[in-house]
């Protein structure tokens, strides 16, 4: 055992204990105990709960359709672009989901900006029309918003996967076999990419099943998606509601596990379909060909469309935060002033610091823990199963955090920044791991041997060769973990108990009043921090690349 293993293995053990085993063990134990106490009558009552079946169908449909469509859109888009585009992804990645939803609905709903603009030009729509591009609340609206928000994350993951593949050689081979560029992308490269996208797709699916705030704002509600119904039971104090909430969480967990299973079949199915087409010796069905072609054309529009969309969303948030008296059908508010900004600045300042401190510290810890785990896997020469590393991402967050809260009450622990920090580390860790793992595990270790033969210690090689060579995934891992920490509501609110106020807790708590002006104001701040971090990383990477090429 060399001295670097002596360093990494204990660090990995501590990480796994503190960030996975203890937090999840405590919660799973109490969850299992409660589930064990459920009677048959309670189960029957739950199965007859109003709207349970459609709610479950909504959740399943949403979690299958949104990630898949987002995945193929991202794949179609990446067929033609290089990862230099990733700077453009930053604003999209860092717009908070809720703010994005508010902005999209304000742009496209029947009383939204588009219709208002049409009214001011043509005089039509003195009252808002019955239908516009997106209704204020519907399954379609929810689906569209989630897809648009998931594509950038998948693009980032695709770029990082592409960097590990000899794409140019694949294309050459495809070319020599007589494939078009498009065909070799879909038939040679995409199967490889899909294999590498399994974990990111799992993350996206889990998010789609468990997300609550966006469906509450724009989704259907008679019934809503399952997560929304579970929340309603949790807020209800009727005697059976607690049991329904528990069983609902269990059902959500079941759905999540099913989806993860399906997700593993995705790549094999795709590969099988390709082989089947080859074997049967027939040409690609005409329909698919046309469809593929259209997809590529649409994909070409994706970047301009997304840039326009995100600018639209940002501008509408900014204008709303400055607006005074803005009612349909006016295109612009009757007055613009910075009153809100002046008034709130004093109160926002401490929140910015708290958010920044928490996010920077927990992203760093999460990243270090992820690296320690990855290196320890290498030294033990055994690849650990991946799903336990992502458990915190897979488990339903609210019951998990409530179990911790129960523990804190039991041991008479006062609410404290430290607990919030720890919880942020737990939830940021799987994302850091997810982003870094692929590149790390495929890193060519011979570089380290070369380094050692030149007289560097193993640890020295790790620090001076591996870290700089994996600069891109590591920095992106940090920045994604940073954004995850910024976005945490439940753990901050429940463990902080008002002692720890971040931009996100404020945004969510204030948005319960539906005041677009306040919501826009806080959403903008929630957006600025991750954006600044992402842009800094993107610029730094661009600079380093340029220096290396020069």
């Amino acid at each position: 055992m060399n001295n670097s293993a002596r360093l990494f293995t204990p660090a990995a053990v501590v990480s796994v204990l503190v960030l996975i085993v203890i937090p999840l063990g405590v919660a799973l134990l109490s969850f299992g105990q409660q589930l064990g106490a459920v009677t048959a009558a309670e189960l029957l009552r739950f199965s007859n709960a109003p709207g349970l079946v459609p709610a479950t169908v909504y959740s399943l449909a949403l979690a299958i359709v949104a990630p898949l469509l987002a995945c193929y859109m991202a794949l179609a888009f990446s067929a033609r672009t290089s990862h230099k585009m990733s700077v453009w992804l930053s604003p999209l990645l860092s717009i908070p989901h809720l703010a994005f939803a508010v902005g999209i609905v304000f742009l496209f709903s029947p009383s939204g900006w588009l219709v208002r603009a049409l009214h001011s030009v043509s005089g039509a729509f003195a009252v808002p029309p019955e239908v516009a591009l997106l209704p204020e609340r519907s399954f379609t609206t929810l689906l569209v918003v989630l897809i648009l928000k998931e594509v950038p994350f998948l693009l980032l993951m695709i770029y990082s996967a592409c960097a590990q593949l000899p794409i140019a050689r694949y294309r050459q081979v495809g070319c020599s076999l007589g494939y078009s560029a498009t065909a070799s992308w879909w038939q040679l490269i995409v199967p490889e990419l899909l294999r590498r996208l399994t974990l990111p797709m799992a993350a996206v699916m889990v998010y789609t099943v468990s997300v609550v705030d966006i469906p509450l704002l724009i989704g259907p509600n008679l019934p809503g998606v399952l997560a929304q119904e579970v929340l309603a039971w949790q807020r209800d104090f009727a005697p059976y509601a607690g049991v329904n909430a528990l069983l609902g969480s269990a059902l959500l967990l079941g759905i999540t596990l099913c989806l993860l299973g399906l997700n593993r079949l995705h790549q094999p199915l795709y590969a099988w379909a390709l082989t089947w087409v080859w074997r049967s010796g027939r040409a690609m069905p005409k329909v698919l060909h046309v469809l593929g072609g259209t997809a590529m054309h649409v994909a070409r529009l994706w970047l301009p469309m997304m840039v326009v969309l995100s600018i639209g969303v940002l501008v509408s948030l900014a204008v709303w935060s400055l607006a005074s008296g803005w009612f349909y059908p006016r295109v612009l508010p009757s007055a613009i002033n910075a009153d809100l900004w002046q008034r709130e600045w004093l109160y926002v300042q401490p929140m910015i610091w708290t958010t920044l401190k928490l996010a920077a510290a927990s992203a760093t810890i999460a990243l270090v823990a992820a690296l320690a785990c990855l290196e320890a896997q290498h030294t033990s020469r055994r690849r650990w199963p991946q799903w336990p590393m992502l458990l915190a991402l897979l488990a339903p967050q609210l019951p998990l955090v409530m179990a911790w809260q129960y523990g804190a009450s039991m041991f008479q622990l006062a609410p404290h920044l430290g607990w919030v920090f720890w919880a942020h580390c737990v939830f940021a860790f799987p994302y850091a791991y997810l982003v870094v793992a692929g590149d790390y595990q495929r890193y060519d270790r011979r570089w380290l041997l070369v380094g050692q033969s030149l007289g560097y210690s193993p640890l020295g090689c790790w620090l001076r060769l591996l870290l700089p060579m994996l600069r891109r995934p590591i920095l992106y891992g940090w920045v994604i973990a940073f954004s995850v920490s910024v976005a945490q509501y439940v753990p901050t609110q429940l463990l902080g108990a008002g002692r720890v106020v971040t931009l996100t807790t404020e945004a969510v708590n204030v948005s319960s009043g539906g005041d677009r002006q306040l919501l826009s104001f806080y959403a903008l701040w929630q957006f600025i921090l991750p954006l600044a971090a992402l842009l800094a990383v993107a610029l730094y990477l661009a600079l380093v690349t340029r220096r290396q090429n020069a």
Partner: protein
Amino acid sequence: MYKFNLTSIFKRLLPALWLLANTCTAADWSEVQAEARGDTVYFYAWGGSDDVNRYLRWADGELNRRYGVRLKHVKVPDIAQAVQRLQVDAQAGRLDGGAIDLLWVNGENFHVLKRDNLLLPDVLTAVPNSADLLHDKLPLASDFGVPVDGLEVPWGIGQFNLIARDNSFADAAINAAQLLDFAKQNPGKLSYPKPPDFIGTTLLKSLLLDLTDSDPRLYQPASETAMAQLLPVLWQYLDKLHPMLWEGGTVFAQSSAQQLQWLADAKLSVAFSFNPQELAAKVEASRLPRNVQQHYFSVGAITNSHYLAIPRNASHSAAAKVAINFLISEKAQQRKADTAYWGDPAVVDLPEGGTLLPSATELHASWQNALEQRWLQRYQR
């Protein structure tokens, strides 16, 4: 000659006793104030209203200046979050040192807190300013049909009212039939917050009162026979109303806040509110257009109060009492009632108290859950 008279002795004794009692509480109260000094009160309260948030910032400044007490508003999207925290504390055995010092609460959440014995008793009598509360004029002693029993201190008054655009209704007082007529003539322009949102449920209660001519059984526990006899008329009405609602009644507003936003967006013609002065305050703050009017149900605007309460395991209960005492003082209530700040009706006598709408008493608490559950069973499939 001096005549021994029991009545006169009693009459003289009474003020003396009253004075004595008062000085006692005054001494106790100065002890409470001394204990409170330097403490921070963590006040769990709904954070969705800019007006309320700013009002509480003002109260924090005043409390700090006068009594050396800080009032920290812990904003929550739903006060059920605080109730859950107290329940978790109770299950885990945290009997003191809790995170919540003060709560803004009423209705079902209060019932749960009272049932589970989670509130500090005798708060009402412990704060001197409670002597000024308008107990004889306002329904303050029972919270959604459940006796307050000194566990809560009234803070403000809610009255169910409608805010409508563009002169949708001719008179201020409307009834269920007029609402249905309006829906028929203006399909897609009405919606209501989906029960169990409490404003949505209160609409159902108002309709039920109207459609059953305020049947006395609505003020008693909801029995199976009463429900079987009274509810069908409501379902018949809603069956006719729903197809005329926004999106044909297949989707509802999620909250009264969302509905107000849609009113400002001209998507809907009517929104509902529990604050009789919300319209004035929102128009003044440019959050609602000027062409809106207030209406109420002719059976009476369902009226209830909202309260302040201290959890049993609060860490700073003395400071919380000082905060309550200030919040129900004339100065604080005056500012609260002013539509330039918040516009919530006062619970004490004010020189310029706003006028209240003709009121109807809250239904018995059990109707709340009955209506919500049956509405879901009937319309959410």
